[in-house]
């Protein structure tokens, strides 16, 4: 399966559609255990992303993901800004100079994205953050060595739902301690939307 600039743009475009649709949902999740802006943050950031990349021509995947990263860093505002911003920045480094990425290369780039999220937020699995979606999904893809994106998206959904049972140890929700249990982590929900969009972009 070839992943080039066109596929990447489609990924972002579908992700943005999902995020705009789920804006209220993401906000409600964040109202329960955060400050209620995650929907807004993501909607603002990804709207800018698709506008920014729509018209531009990209020679390689690296420069496309660089633009995505910079736009998110500039526009998102919340914790998810530097986190997703760093994720896409690491992807852009991993894909620099590449017009297309094969399965292995894209998986490596997504792996770099996860490393970026962990470096930025210093969170580990089990701390009720987006890492609780990214880490098991990447483990799965790493093992498969092929882009089984549909399965990855399903796993992302499952892991997102699993965050409900966790007590937050990082981010704003950590202030709630045990009272954060019983709620889905907003960043895990938006991460699930990103993996779902990737599946649609590549399968569609």
């Amino acid at each position: 399966m070839a992943f080039g600039v066109e596929q990447a743009k489609r990924w972002m475009s579908i992700a943005n559609d999902h995020i705009q649709q789920q804006k209220q949902y993401l906000t409600e999740l964040d109202q329960a255990i955060g400050d209620g802006d995650h929907g807004l943050n993501m909607a603002r950031g990804f709207q800018e992303v698709v506008e920014k990349i729509a018209s531009a021509n990209y020679e390689d995947l690296g420069s496309l993901f660089k633009d995505i990263s910079m736009t998110l860093i500039a526009k998102v505002g919340g914790a998810s800004g530097p986190l997703y911003g760093t994720a896409f920045l690491r992807m852009s480094l991993a894909l620099a100079g590449k017009k297309e990425a094969d399965d292995k290369e894209l998986i490596a780039a997504l792996e770099a994205a996860l490393d970026g999220i962990k470096a930025r937020g210093k969170a580990n699995v089990g701390e009720k953050t987006m890492v609780d979606v990214w880490e098991p999904v990447m483990e799965f893809l790493r093992e498969k060595e092929s882009l089984q994106v549909k399965e990855a998206a399903l796993l992302a959904k499952e892991k997102m739902e699993h965050t409900k049972e966790l007590e937050a140890k990082k981010g704003r929700a950590a202030y709630l301690g045990k009272r954060s249990v019983g709620h889905i982590d907003p960043g895990s929900a938006s991460s699930h939307l990103l993996f779902a969009a990737l599946a649609e972009a590549l399968e569609g």
Binding site: D35, D37, N41, I73, A74, K75, V76, G77, G78, A79, G81, P82, L83, G85, T86, R120, G121, G171, R172
Partner: protein, 134 residues
């Protein structure tokens, strides 16, 4: 520059604008830059933090203070985007109380390390002395 500079980061533009005025009154000679809010909304922005640091940078040093968690992520991201980071430190100190001490110490001509150490001790500061009945 003679003095260590300060960069104040908050999710709220008003907080750092007000804090800067308060510190300027105490230490008019210390350079202070602010990075508050994101596009007029509550939030922080790594690019604005980067610009703030650059605007007061000198080899004498820059101390960065911030309010809550995600501001730190953007501060660290800003650090990675900066060319020179040798003389920049992010202080583990309460924003307002730490910045007050940092401004005083910087105004005394102290080194970057001394300013950071002093403002990190803001944590140990007893604000309310409880002697008799409370």
């Amino acid at each position: 520059m003679k003095y260590v500079s300060l960069v104040l980061i908050s999710h709220s533009e008003e907080i750092v604008n007000g804090l800067k005025k308060l510190l300027n009154q105490v230490q008019p000679d210390v350079s202070i830059a602010v990075a508050g809010g994101n596009d007029g909304e509550i939030g922080t922005n790594a690019f604005r933090i980067k610009e703030a640091v650059e605007s007061v940078y000198s080899e004498k040093g820059v101390v960065i203070l911030f309010d809550i968690g995600s501001a730190l992520m953007n501060a660290e991201l800003a650090m990675e985007m900066l060319e020179k980071t040798d003389h920049i430190a992010i202080a583990d100190a309460p924003l307002v109380e730490g910045a007050y001490i940092a401004a005083v110490e910087a105004g005394l001509g102290k080194s970057l390390d001394e300013v950071v150490r002093a403002c990190e001790q803001a944590k140990q500061m007893v604000k309310v002395v409880r002697s008799e009945v409370e």
